[in-house]
């Protein structure tokens, strides 16, 4: 499949559902990987300090899940509060803004991270708004007063593609 960048810049437009879903997938992968790394680092440091092995909880235990939940919250809260985007969002070229398009505040980022699980808990219905809503807002967007927009200059990407094609021709 060949997907050329559009002619106009999309920066500032509401992000679509596929891009956001892909960003969530990357974030989920990043969260699990970094959580495992974090546990490994903690065990390594514990061993260095105490000279004894730290028995980490298995991945099917409640403690492990609680730790994952806390790590996930921290991941999203820090990412949104500091940079208004996560790693997945950065890869896909989207970012979180206020509902009116203004800059995201730290408070909004934290509230969004706190409300994020509710979109999952309602059998995923919290995400339906991204597809059918006029402003493409999920439940946690509505709670935090935020929305997600494209943050990359598709025009520049198109020019880069054209120049590559011209250089190859």
């Amino acid at each position: 499949m060949k997907a050329d960048p559009p002619e106009g810049s999309l920066a500032g437009n509401y992000s679509g559902p596929v891009t956001r879903l892909a960003a969530y997938a990357i974030d989920a992968f990043a969260i699990v990987v970094t959580y495992g790394l974090m546990l490994g680092i903690v065990a390594f440091v514990w061993q260095l300090v105490t000279r004894s092995d730290l028995v980490l909880p298995a991945s099917d235990t409640l403690v492990w899940l609680i730790g994952l939940g806390i790590w996930t919250f921290g991941y999203f809260a820090v990412s949104w509060g500091v940079a208004a985007k996560t790693v997945g969002m950065a890869v896909l070229g989207i970012r979180v803004v206020g509902r009116d398009g203004g800059e995201l505040t730290v408070r909004q980022g934290v509230v969004r991270a706190l409300a994020f699980p509710f979109s999952f808990l309602l059998l995923g219905l919290g995400f339906v708004g991204i597809v059918v809503g006029r402003e493409r807002r999920a439940l946690h967007d509505v709670i935090a007063g935020t929305t997600v927009v494209y943050d990359w200059d598709a025009r520049s990407a198109r020019l880069r593609l054209l120049t590559r094609q011209a250089a190859e021709a």
């Binding site: 499949m1 060949k2 997907a3 050329d4 960048p5 559009p6 002619e7 106009g8 999309l10 500032g12 437009n13 509401y14 992000s15 679509g16 559902p17 596929v18 891009t19 892909a22 890869v91 896909l92 070229g93 803004v97 206020g98 509902r99 009116d100 398009g101 203004g102 597809v131 059918v132 006029r134 402003e135 929305t147 927009v149 494209y150 990359w152 598709a154 520049s156 990407a157 198109r158 020019l159 880069r160 593609l161 054209l162 120049t163 590559r164 011209a166 250089a167």
Partner: protein, 248 residues
């Protein structure tokens, strides 16, 4: 105040002795209200006569000129058909060679005048010291007097930019090569591709949703502060050709 006709009598001179009052008859009082309309009527009659006379004369002159031209044309045509016309033609043929000899020096004189004028202009330019004049021109002062902001304010930059075929420029020039060298890393290529793919799939998904759920309703494309107008979903949705590239 009433005047008498005696008031209008010219002043007495030595050459013309003053008539006796009895010879002039008794003085008849003429009021201004009667005298003024009579004078105005006389002036109007005189001016009207002159005007009509001029108009009639002008019309007559035009008619005479027209008749003269028509008569001359008729006469020339008649003469052309007569032996006089043949004689005039042969005369013109005989004079043709002499006329040609006369035209040559005339043309030569014209060319000579042109050459003289050109040399004069060259000499004037050499004498004028144009470089010196240019050196004396205070370009900075001229530039200071020009209101650049006003000029720029009158230029519709957006309109100019919209007319520029940037895609064509990039294809035809080396600007694109420079861009590739500066930003054409493999990571950038991958990111551009992934993002473009996401946008194209977003477009497809939103097109489906718009057709099912947003019949004829305006749907904003961006938050208020980011300044994007609403789009009419009854129009064909922006498309991205997944095979050849296009709008999104």
């Amino acid at each position: 105040m009433a005047r008498t006709r005696r008031d209008t009598v010219p002043p007495m001179t030595d050459a013309s002795p003053a008539p006796e009052p009895e010879a002039l008859g008794p003085a008849v009082p003429v009021p201004d209200a009667v005298d003024e309309p009579v004078r105005r009527a006389a002036r109007a009659t005189r001016d009207a006569g002159l005007g009509y006379g001029l108009a009639v004369g002008r019309a007559g002159l035009r008619a005479a000129i027209g008749l003269g031209k028509a008569g001359a044309d008729v006469a020339l045509k008649v003469l052309d058909q007569s032996p006089v016309g043949d004689a005039a033609g042969s005369l013109a043929d005989r004079f043709g060679a002499a006329a040609g000899r006369g035209r040559r020096p005339r043309a030569g004189a014209g060319a000579g005048v042109g050459g003289v004028v050109g040399r004069v202009v060259d000499n004037v330019v050499q004498v004028l010291d144009v470089d010196g004049i240019i050196r004396q021109v205070d370009v900075d002062d001229i530039v200071r007097r020009v209101d650049v902001d006003d000029i720029v304010g009158r230029v519709d930059i957006d309109d100019i930019i919209s007319r520029v075929d940037v895609d064509g420029i990039v294809r035809r020039t080396e600007v694109g090569t420079l861009i590739v060298q500066s930003t054409g890393g493999i990571v950038t290529q991958v990111l551009d591709f992934v993002r473009s793919l996401g946008v194209s799939l977003d477009t497809v998904a939103e097109r489906v949703v718009d057709r099912i759920l947003h019949h004829g309703r305006l749907r904003p494309v961006a938050p208020v502060l980011l300044g994007r107008p609403a789009v009419d979903t009854t129009d064909p949705a922006p498309t991205l050709d997944l095979t050849t590239g296009g709008d999104a």
